[in-house]
């Protein structure tokens, strides 16, 4: 048992995502409570009191972000739900959107009420077909039930939600790129300041929150911030959706209460490592977070401070587990190929650096590595750090240098001998191995 649950506290059925099922579980009562008995500032105060940290990866306090919006500035304010889940290893928001779309919508309405927004946006990644359809249908259900549109629940508050589907771009998960995309442009991040809470969508104050962050809001308003805070740890209150994948017996989406044992989670809840192999390393929160090896996980708990103390982050909760015997040079190459593909091309260090790193790793994997390649990879990683508008380039650098720090011997062996220290394999149990398919 991995602690108390906020999201996975009901049996999933063919209709558990519907408005009727959600209402039967107590859905939209928090909205009723907020609109009838709370001022917008009270909602923000409650969220601040809960200590809720953003679940998109940066773990910024949600209440503080909302509190920046000046309610009396006379400007329109917007909330945008970031449902552009694209971080490799992360698929927890997809679960929320598919199974509890109304919870996400209720959270979005509450957030919009807190900042006195008249329009809200959901930016969903273009590839998400089922989550898109579930969300679209849920929004229409909410409109029909008087939970959206003019004069919600007869309280005088009005809100329209635009469901906006992206068209395939990882960088649009970055908040400023997302807003550019919402304006109908290519998703280029922009320099800040001015912050998005000052000049965001259409140059108006805008709050961008992750799906899971907003899905927490109904519980906070329903129970009160102080009660919410009693779940989890004082510095990481609440629960975390973890999507776990890789060489694991039972991959999937789990909800854990912060402070739960990391090893227990991997070995007991997720059934341990495939093929009875030993654990080699874990990428804790999507490929942008630094890897931790088996030793670094010993005695550690799943929460922000524990991950930070180990030099990494919980990030977006997308955990990738890698078994002993996996070639880390090839792992680095797959990660770098991704960053090269997804660089938006706006900043030179990222546009050129990502391709350069991929070419070097490609060469090493082909058996044509050069002795100076390791230093060059470090050099490009460092050159990217802090020199680009968004953190895509930095993340790629961190990911690569962390693998080099941990497994430099594998790179040296590959360069010296022209082949992997292991058999070059990435898989433990490959369903296609028997048919001899190779690329």
């Amino acid at each position: 048992m991995s602690g108390r649950k906020y999201f996975m506290n009901f049996p999933v059925t063919d209709s558990s995502h519907s408005l009727a099922a959600y209402k039967a579980r107590g859905g939209y009562q928090s909205l009723q409570k907020a609109l009838t008995s709370m001022q917008p500032t009270d909602v923000t105060k409650e969220v601040a009191a809960s200590g809720l940290l953003g679940h998109g990866g940066a773990a910024f306090p949600a209440g503080r972000k909302w509190g920046v919006i000046k309610l009396t500035d006379g400007e329109p304010h917007y909330v945008c739900m970031n449902a552009d889940e694209g971080e490799p290893g992360t698929f927890k928001d997809r679960w929320l959107l598919e199974h509890v779309p109304h919870l996400c919508i209720e959270g979005l309405i509450l957030a919009s009420y807190a900042i006195m927004g008249r329009h809200a946006f959901i930016y969903i990644r273009g590839e998400f077909d089922l989550p898109f359809r579930r969300l679209r249908d849920a929004i229409e259900e909410a409109y029909a039930a008087g939970l959206l549109g003019e004069n919600i629940l007869g309280t005088g508050y009005s809100l329209d939600i635009v469901l906006y589907r992206g068209a395939g771009s990882y960088v649009c998960g970055e908040a400023s790129a997302m807003l550019a995309s919402l304006e109908g442009k290519k998703g280029w991040p922009r320099n800040r300041p001015p912050r998005l809470t000052v000049k965001g969508l259409y140059q108006r104050p805008t709050v961008v929150n992750n799906v899971e962050t907003l899905a927490n809001i109904p519980a906070i308003i329903g129970e009160g911030g102080e009660t919410f805070r009693k779940v989890g740890l004082p510095k990481s209150p609440g629960t975390q959706m973890i999507s776990i994948s890789g060489h694991l017996v039972r991959p999937g989406v789990y909800e854990i209460e912060y402070g739960y044992s990391w090893e227990k989670f991997i070995y007991e809840d997720c059934g341990g490592i495939l093929g009875g192999r030993a654990l080699k390393c874990v990428i804790p929160g999507g490929v942008s977070t630094k890897i931790l090896d088996a030793n670094e996980l010993k005695g550690r708990t799943l929460d922000h401070n524990s991950a930070l103390a180990a030099g990494s982050q919980i990030g977006s909760g997308g955990m990738i587990v890698i078994a002993e015997g996996t070639c880390m040079v090839r792992v680095a190459r797959v990660i770098q190929r991704f960053y090269h593909h997804e660089s938006c091309g706006q900043c030179t260090p990222c546009r050129e650096g990502m391709g350069w790193m991929e070419r070097i790793l490609d060469r090493i994997v082909r058996g044509e590595g050069r002795p100076e390649d390791i230093d060059r990879l470090y050099h490009i990683s460092t050159a990217n750090d802090g020199t680009t508008i968004c953190s895509l380039g930095d993340s790629a650098g961190y990911a690569c240098s962390a693998i080099l720090d941990h497994y430099r011997d594998e790179f040296e062996h590959f360069i010296t001998h022209g082949r992997s220290m292991y058999d070059g394999s990435l898989t433990v149990e490959d369903p296609f191995a028997a048919v001899g398919a190779t690329t």
Binding site: G126, S169, S243, S245, T427, T438, T439
Partner: protein, 173 residues
């Protein structure tokens, strides 16, 4: 007042043919936007046009530019930037195999190899009969059910040689 010279005459708008029947739908979408932020409709409109035709033709772009009143360059940039837009026709079934890390750890490379062998094409190519286009893509947020691929809009997960065979047979009908 003198008559305008020929170079001052505004360019006539092309008659709407390709997207005319979609305009009422686009107009409905506008209702939920804050005010006249029509530029925001660029991506949704392009998605809808591609859904109908299978790709975006030059004439579609001309009509969309005229309808939305946005610069043509903006529409061209958007189509080039986002991976889901295409200006060339694809096969009837677009097989997009995720080959990011989690899928690679569970056999994505073998899956790509298997599909190449079965279809006789490489990633990025379309079969001669126009039925299948094969692509490799980065993370589709289906890491726990790897290896997987998206066929048109639908996810197929936990793939094995047997399930791929059954799927291809089904799609070939």
């Amino acid at each position: 007042m003198t008559a305008p010279t020929s170079h001052e005459t505004p360019m006539p708008k092309p008659p709407m043919q390709n997207i005319q029947h979609l305009i009422p739908e686009f107009e409905r979408w506008k209702q939920r936007y804050p005010s006249d932020f029509t530029g925001s409709l660029t991506i949704p409109c392009l998605r809808r046009i591609q859904e109908e035709r299978g790709y975006i033709a030059d004439s579609d772009i001309d009509e969309l530019v005229a309808y939305l009143g946005v610069p043509r360059m903006q529409v061209d940039e958007v189509i080039a930037f986002y991976t889901q837009f295409t200006r060339v026709p694809l096969g009837n079934h677009h097989l997009q195999v995720c080959h990011n890390l989690s899928c690679s750890l569970r056999g994505a490379e073998g899956l790509v190899g298997y599909l190449c062998a079965k279809l006789g094409i490489q990633p990025g190519e379309t079969t001669a009969d126009g039925k299948f286009t094969l692509s490799t893509v980065e993370c589709l947020a289906s890491c726990g059910t790897a290896p997987m691929m998206m066929v048109n809009d639908t996810y197929h997960e936990n793939l094995t040689p047997a399930s791929v065979d059954a799927l291809l047979e089904d799609l070939s009908k």
